[in-house]
Amino acid sequence: MVAPLWLAPKERLQDLIDALRQRQYTVVAPVVDQAAIVYDEIDHIDRLPRGWIDSQAAGHYRLQPTSRDRWFDFVVGPDSWKKYLFPARCVLSTAKPLPDGWQFESAADDSPAYAFLGARACELAAIQVQDRVFLEGPWIDQIYQHRRSRAFIVAVNCTRSGENCFCVSMRTGPACHSGYDLALTETDEGFVVDIGSERGGDLIASLRLPEAPLEKCTAARLSQERAAMQQSKQMATGDLPNLLMTNLEHPRWKDVGDRCLSCTNCTMVCPTCFCCSVDDVTDLNTGAVERQRQWDSCFHEEFSNLNGRPVRNETRSRYRQWLTHKLATWHDQFDTSGCVGCGRCIAWCPVGIDITAEVAALREAPVRCPA
């Protein structure tokens, strides 16, 4: 284990950004935009949401200024890094008509190498879940692989939990343990920097940082522990797949189906959801065809079409599909839970449906009807 380094004053984060940019990385970080903290390309620390925190509840998100000079006291917003690794819209391939047939080509992905600055522990876990989906199965997603293999990750340990966070229950946070190149923990005077990879070590070496003093390391560790203790939202995960799969006819599914708008927001903001649809689109003038992929959702009725008709034609069955996949059959398929406890689906549901409350209700009065 390499000793943690000390990056102070906090403005020296600019040196880290500069070092990444010199190595041709496009740096993506949290910024304030549209009344929320989202992820965008930056080249200067001025764009970081310094002094802002988010106040969240079910179906509720508001930015607030803080009096403390904190750079990373907010938690996660509507965006996740999936926006960069698994883009919302992309072209998979093209086909051009020729006089004697067709010319098929895979579309080139000309994305830059990204450096993600500010990825949280739950987000690292989410990336690891999507790695299983896109890289570790029988089929490899070329676009994901191209972007993921080059991405440099500067994680940030949470020193405050949000109202919707339940990473402690899901054992994914709030402290980062793996999956990063560098990890920062903010203290009053600077950042404690942990090195997570050789690549991270090489990059940070160029900044010639001193070792972090012991009291800074202690302060950093305590603040991570405080964030964990602060967390009030919970989801009991014991025997959860079995609980869900033996309660497929539980009345709670109808209850939540009556409240749910089937609007798809929960799946869109979820950092592990990967559903998409693929369409061939023809240019009327040239006859060329583009195979386009877009994010899609199990809450979209047509997404369950088989032979032109939906098999999940009620919201009740679509919500059940989402929850049982995420928390039960995901284990069978990918050997992990599909939920990392980030709380995005709770915050960004327009009517505040809370995945933890739905699970708790099933757990409270299971009916155990077999599938």
């Binding site: 009344a35 509507p78 919302a88 994010w295 032109g308 960004w348």
Partner: protein, 263 residues
């Protein structure tokens, strides 16, 4: 090559905006005309050929006795009938007469009211004849209309998304104006088509493309109320171009039936 399908673009009670949007689609217009023969399109040509038609494109709602008859005749001589726009699919803005006294309006607005023979209702085309495809929107999305026409000309079903506006907000990175700003937004119960135009400009959706199939309005209305939006602000949100579409109509009426219910 087989002969090009004969297409008629017909107008009922409407503003012409939907059919004009086809003429605005300049990049694709010539290619569309290569595949389809517009034999009746009064906004584009003064040569108006009689039926039969392979595809009738109908804009506008039914607001007169004459139009009730005319739509039946058009249906009888058309293989496919496609309705376009909020007027044709839901009754349009002119359906607001459902909540007024149209005879009284006619008396006070027109100098010679005896010339006006309007029905007391403005109804969608599907209330009168069988419709093969409904394309929603006020106005419609011209690219969607081209997709429908080309699909019918090539014998396949049109690829028109039917999900909520919210999905497009998220795909384009628009932060939810309801969750982050407390605005009343009809996006969750509104059909896509605009690509989430209003939320992207920081304004809640007011339902141009009409209700999404299977839309669930009551919990959304309850949430609007919980966030402090009053019934008298919400009713106009629901009562505009698609006011008499059943989901929006019932939602508006439920608000007026329980004006102070705040869950």
């Amino acid at each position: 090559m087989a002969r090009k399908p004969r297409v008629a673009v017909m107008k009922f009670a409407s503003c012409d905006g939907c059919q004009l949007s086809l003429l605005d689609a300049e990049d694709e217009l010539l290619a569309v005309c290569d595949r389809l023969d517009f034999v009746y399109f009064a906004e584009a040509s003064s040569v108006l050929q009689p039926g039969p038609y392979d595809i009738a494109v109908v804009e506008g709602s039914i607001t007169t006795v004459e139009d009730e008859q005319r739509i039946r005749e058009l249906r009888a001589c058309s293989t496919r009938l496609v309705t376009i726009g909020a007027c044709a699919t839901a009754g349009g803005i002119q359906a607001l007469r459902a909540w007024g006294d149209s005879q009284e309006w006619i008396r006070t607005i027109y100098p010679r009211p005896e010339y006006i023979h309007a029905l007391a209702t403005s109804t969608p085309i599907a209330a009168h004849v069988l419709v093969d495809y409904e394309l929603h929107g006020c106005p419609i999305n011209a690219h969607q209309l081209i997709e429908v026409l080309i699909a019918f000309a090539s014998g396949r079903s049109p690829n028109i998304p039917a999900h909520s506006v919210c999905l497009d907000c998220k795909r384009r990175g628009t932060v939810c104006v309801m969750v982050a700003r407390g605005q009343a937004c009809l996006g969750p119960i509104t059909r896509t088509g605009c690509g989430a135009l209003c939320p992207t400009y920081n304004r809640g959706c007011y339902g141009c493309f009409g209700p999404v199939d299977g839309g669930n309005a009551p919990p959304l209305l309850a949430e609007f109320r919980r966030q402090g939006h009053a019934a008298e602000q919400l009713v106009p949100l629901l009562r505009n171009f698609n006011a008499t579409a059943p989901l929006f109509r019932e939602a508006g009426e439920s608000l007026l039936d329980n004006p102070t219910d705040d869950r």
